[in-house]
Chain length 207, copies 2
């Protein structure tokens, strides 16, 4: 089932809630009030209640939210219950970091294929994955891989995206620091790590 | 001057606005309506007007917002006008990616120091930066470096944060996939790249 009325802004916050709830669960907490959850997350309690109201109110007055139930509901909404196979394109420093990143598994993502255009990299083994030539991108659909991460240099990002769309990819996580244009049916999420850094100076004491 | 009333949520969105305005500026656009800006950003026009209302309304009816003026104002609020020196701790794949990332310069950040605990890495030169032993973290204050990026393994993140706090660091960008605890005077921004990936399945056609 798809929850069509949930706003993009709420969908953007759900993984944040999920991450913190997973941490609580690992710490053995079984319930939390919306005020405590809000303070943990650094957002307003009304924001949390509003976000949760999109998919039903799980809280019990005086007891708070059941942590495991919230995790289950959010995972269901985000469709994170299964394993999502991901193809990585670009195995430079950024791509290597993406592959090595321990956080992916937590959300059910597994990088099962990696591609690069550099002859020197093709054929190398990174963990369980052998780097393939980008000309083999057209095999993705056949291999049932619908999600790709782009970690190529800026100049190559758009042509990589075009090739991924041709290869039947439905979702792209773009780590290259630039915009890419794709048909509407394909969802792109652009990660700009510098953008988060940009919030920091605001909070620094008078400099 | 500090704009105390701006909410964390707005501060979170300003870098996104800034990035897109910088792209518009690079494309030669001089003005944009709040509707066009909203559609570019994928947020509601009222959200943009509300966010901008925190620091004055720059729009002119029928003409829209002046792109360069908005960029200037947002940079001023985020205090991004100068150059911020950053120390990187942990020069593995993730750290190398952080160093190589071209997006930082755009926001006035410059990684001027890098630290690692592995003897094999200390002394190596990465671009203009020579990797130092983590025992030298206590020199940061003297070197006038107030911002640090943590890219160490999960298990070493908290002790690294403690050492950075002791070294007088005021802002931490945490790339390690875990929470760190610091005194209130220190601002931490945690980047979890997997969290953004977690939004993707929601948008994928029935899988």
């Amino acid at each position: 089932m798809r929850y069509h009325k949930i706003s993009d802004e709420t969908i953007r916050r759900l993984p944040v809630y999920l991450r913190d709830l997973l941490t609580l669960s690992e710490q053995g907490r079984s319930s939390i009030s919306s005020n405590d959850l809000a303070s943990l997350l650094g957002v307003n309690p009304w924001q949390i209640r509003k976000d949760f109201s999109y998919f039903g109110d799980f809280g019990t007055r005086g007891v708070g939210y059941d942590v495991e139930n919230l995790i289950r509901q959010i995972k269901k909404i985000l469709r994170l219950s299964g394993v999502n196979k991901v193809a990585l394109v670009g195995v430079g420093n950024l791509g290597m970091a993406v592959m090595a990143y321990p956080g992916f598994k937590r959300y059910g993502f597994e990088i099962v294929a990696a591609f690069d255009s550099a002859a020197g990299k093709v054929g190398k083994q990174i963990g369980d994955v052998r780097i393939e030539d980008v000309v083999a991108l057209n095999t993705l659909q056949r291999r049932n891989i619908h999600v790709a991460a782009i970690a190529v240099p800026r100049d190559a990002a758009q042509e990589t995206a075009d090739a991924l769309v041709d290869a039947g990819i439905k979702g792209i996580l773009n780590f290259s620091p630039c915009y890419i244009t794709v048909p509407k049916k394909v969802k792109v999420i652009t990660i700009d790590i510098a953008m988060d850094l940009a919030r920091l100076p605001y909070y620094l004491p008078g400099n």
